[in-house]
């Protein structure tokens, strides 16, 4: 991005080839199900002896293979895992495999994730985000979204493996034809086709040209698990070496000599409009180029971010009053409770007749829970760099959906989509904040760049301060949830009655696996002015705290061991029972624990995986809970990369525990109170528990791993606290609440 290339005049072909050189790799991908893309790829990109033999796979004459991954790498190891899936089916030698981020062009749109899967297979996180009925087919297909713990499950299983297997069968066919033997006599191994009978062997790279002339088979035979050579191994992640020497590029690292920097202040009350601005003092500061006024905020543009940020404080601005200026968390809590009291809501799940069972009950037990709004607080603050030059633009930002963001910037800037070039980077954390439909910062950065472009030919990097990042998030929704359980004369649970505030973002999160005959689960939608979106594990993070706390309360009410009650009520869920048993045994459930410690347990299915967790907790001398150890048994079907899987589980637990112990975004005077880490505390090394992970392979289809470890931990900790103290945590975060040891429940674990 030096001045010399600040006015690139590149045709699509040139852009692709230039990028290929700059990235040290290659470029094209296309779906096995869409041979037209295959043809386009080779027609436009025939580059030396390189050939794209099928979707996402490019072979080189030196027998190296480049695998393009259409997902954002945000530390979940997706680049490595998906390349492993394609490479294994291809029978490639792993040391000959290069992994590249698929470019943000429609040639690399990730249709496997949505197209052709049928409604019932649509990743559930997308159903909450997108109204697919309202989208034209082309927009659904042109998607490169990363979220919903879906990459391995959908792209990996339905696209990467298929592409690898298709390429392998094409190479096999080409070799057999060249040798004049039957394809059945040939085999593949370590990036070679071999013919044992004649002792012949040929490298894939030598067959690339022939193979590229074939149409990929639509339904190639996939390997049986016993045939895996690469999948299932703890292979080192390809994105780690650049992350230890400072060279890994994040969106915020876009840099050029002539770059300008924008510090942005948005309306502190969501939805407020800018009323007046006096920028005189700011404009007089060193390095300040411009003050940009926006509908809902203002920005100072300078030649250095710190200068922009300092000058921003000198801008005198006022925002117009709104009807939400006096809204507080207390006001919202009252609104939530009133909604639950006044409305029966709409059906989420019903079976049997819960109302009748409650009426006939020997005993009815009620409990109400609530959790607050949460910010994502990704370590890389939200940022976006845009350089608009006439009818085209360059764009750098860390995003979970490159194609979506490119299209958004084009729309906001009034440019044609093919005139916007997206430059990929790693993400300094995503957790749902960098998904589509959370457009602030992106829109603002584009509008700022548009204003700047009238006077300066330079890229503009807009960065939110940590305080703005926290106060201008799209939050995990605050939720209130009320429960009633009915017991009959024998103490059996006959009804589960649940009313919670919505909206529902991921359907099914409030449903229970427990065999309770009468269930009534209904949602009451409540409107607020606080923007909300997906937060790691979405609705599961709140609902699992509620469900797994209430089932625990039911067990104690009945005088049953909480683990035993779960096992009894999960007769029809052998996978749940299995992970519960593995976690409980590993954690020493029911056996001797150090004095003053207790175990709490919780289980939840989300994103195709089932996680059971046991938290080992004590109460410190200051009355605060200390989480010593979390044991997790995870059934994610089967595992592509066990080391990455463990890392994701460790990560998910710490993310969930951070929220349980500390996380709260509160509202005063219509605006977010918290601004930086002391107010919105994070778990750190000293509070980080020992984590023990058991990957329980059931052989089912692979489940997600980015999110499923987050939901259960809050309830597991709360359930342990109850055993230690008799005090029930019904509101998160646990915060600085003090607890007192009470030994009376200690035997009941």
């Amino acid at each position: 991005m030096s001045k010399t290339d600040s006015k690139p005049k590149l045709s699509r072909r040139n852009f692709l080839l230039v990028s290929a050189v700059a990235g040290g790799g290659a470029l094209i991908g296309y779906a096995a199900t869409r041979p037209s893309r295959h043809q386009r790829a080779n027609d436009t990109l025939a580059d030396g002896g390189d050939r794209f033999v099928t979707s996402w796979i490019r072979l080189r004459p030196d027998n190296r293979v480049t695998i393009y991954v259409p997902h954002a790498e945000m530390g979940q190891g997706v680049h490595t895992a998906l390349a492993m899936m394609a490479a294994d089916e291809l029978d490639a030698a792993w040391e000959l495999v290069d992994v590249e981020q698929a470019p943000a062009t429609d040639l690399f749109a990730n249709d496997a994730i949505v197209a052709g899967l049928g409604g019932e297979l649509l990743p559930e996180f997308l159903t909450g985000l997108v109204n697919f009925a309202a989208l034209p087919a082309a927009q659904i297909v042109n998607i490169q979204i990363t979220g919903g713990s879906s990459s391995v499950r959908y792209t990996g299983e339905n696209s990467m493996r298929v592409a690898g297997a298709a390429a392998r069968s094409m190479l096999l066919e080409c070799a057999a034809e060249r040798w004049g033997v039957a394809a059945e006599e040939c085999a593949t191994e370590s990036s070679h086709v071999i013919h044992s009978a004649s002792g012949r062997s040929i490298a894939y790279g030598e067959l690339a040209d022939d193979a590229a002339r074939l149409e990929p088979p639509a339904n190639p035979v996939l390997k049986d698990r016993s045939q895996f050579n690469i999948m299932g191994r703890a292979i080192s992640r390809r994105d780690i070496p650049p992350k230890v020497d400072g060279s890994a590029p994040y969106g915020i690292d876009a840099h050029s000599e002539d770059m300008l920097y924008a510090a942005l202040r948005l309306a502190p009350v969501f939805g407020a409009r800018l009323a007046s601005v006096n920028a005189e003092a700011a404009l007089a500061q060193r390095g300040v180029r411009k003050v940009v006024e926006l509908e809902d905020g203002y920005a100072v543009v300078a030649d250095n971010y710190w200068r922009a940020k300092q000058a921003l404080e000198l801008v005198e601005a006022e925002f117009a009053p709104t009807e939400n200026d006096s809204v507080s968390s207390a006001v919202l809590a009252e609104r939530f409770d009133r909604a639950l009291a006044e409305s029966n809501g709409s059906r989420d799940f019903e079976s049997g007749d819960a109302d009748a069972a409650l009426e006939d009950a020997q005993d009815v037990f009620e409990a109400s829970y609530r959790v607050p709004y949460l910010a994502h607080a990704a370590m890389e603050p939200m940022n976006c760099t845009v350089h608009i030059q006439g009818d085209r633009a360059d764009l750098w930002t860390s995003t979970q959906d490159a194609l979506g963001i490119k299209s958004r910037v084009a729309r906001v800037a009034g440019l044609s989509e093919d005139k916007v070039t997206f430059h990929h980077s790693y993400l300094g954390g995503g957790f749902g904040r960098r998904l589509p439909f959370t457009w602030n910062v992106i829109d603002h950065a584009t509008l700022i760049a548009q204003q700047v472009a009238k006077e300066f030919d330079a890229p503009v990097k807009t960065i939110l301060t940590r305080e703005e990042d926290m106060r201008q998030d799209y939050y995990r929704p605050a939720v209130h949830s009320n429960f009633k359980a009915a017991f009959d004369a024998e103490g059996l649970v006959t009804a589960w009655h649940n009313r919670f505030t919505g909206p529902i973002q991921v359907p099914g999160a409030a449903h229970i696996p427990y065999g309770i005959p009468n269930q009534s689960i209904r949602v009451v939608d409540v409107e607020t002015h606080v923007p909300i979106a997906s937060w790691r594990s979405v609705d599961h993070s709140q609902q699992t705290f509620f469900i797994e706390s209430f089932i625990d309360e039911i067990a104690h009410r009945r005088g049953t061991n909480p683990y035993q009650l779960r096992m009894e009520l999960l007769q029809d869920h052998p996978r749940h029972r299995n992970v519960l048993q593995v976690a409980a045994e590993s954690a020493g459930y029911g056996s001797g624990l150090p004095e003053g410690r207790a175990l709490g347990i919780a289980v939840q299915e989300s994103f195709g995986s089932i996680a059971a967790q046991v938290a080992e907790v004590s109460i410190g001398s200051d009355g605060r809970p200390v989480v010593h150890k979390v044991t997790c048994a995870m059934d994610c079907g089967w595992v592509v990369n066990p080391d990455t899987a463990e890392a994701q589980i460790e990560s998910g637990i710490i993310f969930g525990l951070t929220a349980a112990l500390y996380g709260a975004i509160t509202i005063e005077d219509g605006r977010v109170v918290q601004g930086n880490f002391p107010d919105y505390e994070m778990l750190r090394m000293a509070d980080s528990p020992e984590i023990v992970v058991h990957l329980v392979e059931s052989g089912n289809a692979p489940g997600g791993l980015g999110e499923p470890a987050t939901p259960p931990v809050a309830a597991a900790v709360a359930n342990a606290i109850y055993i230690l103290t008799g005090q029930r945590v019904r509101e998160l975060p646990i915060g600085d609440r003090e607890f007192t040891l009470d030994r009376s429940l200690a035997g009941n674990i």
Binding site: D239, I240, G246, H255, N304, G428, R466, R684
Partner: protein
């Protein structure tokens, strides 16, 4: 005028002395390995070494490091030595597959390197006290494992 040594090279810049070192590194020098996380010295993503000590560059005015010896993640390997262009701490981070998103890891590695330089065998309590950086991905168990391995090496 600000003068300091950066990864062994003398630097002289016409800059306000109150500008935090972080923004001098990132915006003036294009050294983007040192990261912006919080801007108040709380999260540690911006940790660099000044005369071998870990310091949070987002709250360190460049005027306060006048004439001092600054090492960033880009220069760590050449200062600390090691095989394959990596310091022993960087190599341990790969061996234990520590980073996830990786954004905090430049600072984490600089903090761990400074801790191990002054205390080659830190206890768990000393690791807790010495590593106060935030990792939102929760790499703490692996950071601890990597430091323990370095301590016993």
């Amino acid at each position: 005028m600000a003068r300091f040594t950066l990864n062994g090279e003398n630097r002289e810049l016409d800059i306000e002395p109150e500008m935090p070192l972080l923004w001098v590194l990132r915006d003036e020098l294009g050294m983007t390995g040192t990261n912006f996380g919080c801007g108040i010295g709380n999260c540690g993503a911006c940790t660099v070494h000044v005369d071998g000590n870990a310091l949070r560059s987002c709250v360190t005015p460049v005027g306060a490091v006048e004439g001092r010896d600054i090492t960033t993640i880009e220069g760590l390997a050449s200062v600390a030595g090691g095989a394959n262009g990596l310091s022993p701490v960087q190599q341990a981070w790969i061996d234990h597959q520590v980073p996830q998103c990786g954004y905090c890891q430049s600072g984490m590695i600089m903090a761990a390197s400074a801790l191990l330089a002054r205390n080659p065998s830190p206890s768990d309590e000393e690791i807790d006290a010495g590593i106060t950086n935030i990792c939102r991905c929760g790499s703490y168990p692996r950071v601890r494992k990597a430091i323990r391995a370095l301590a016993s090496a």
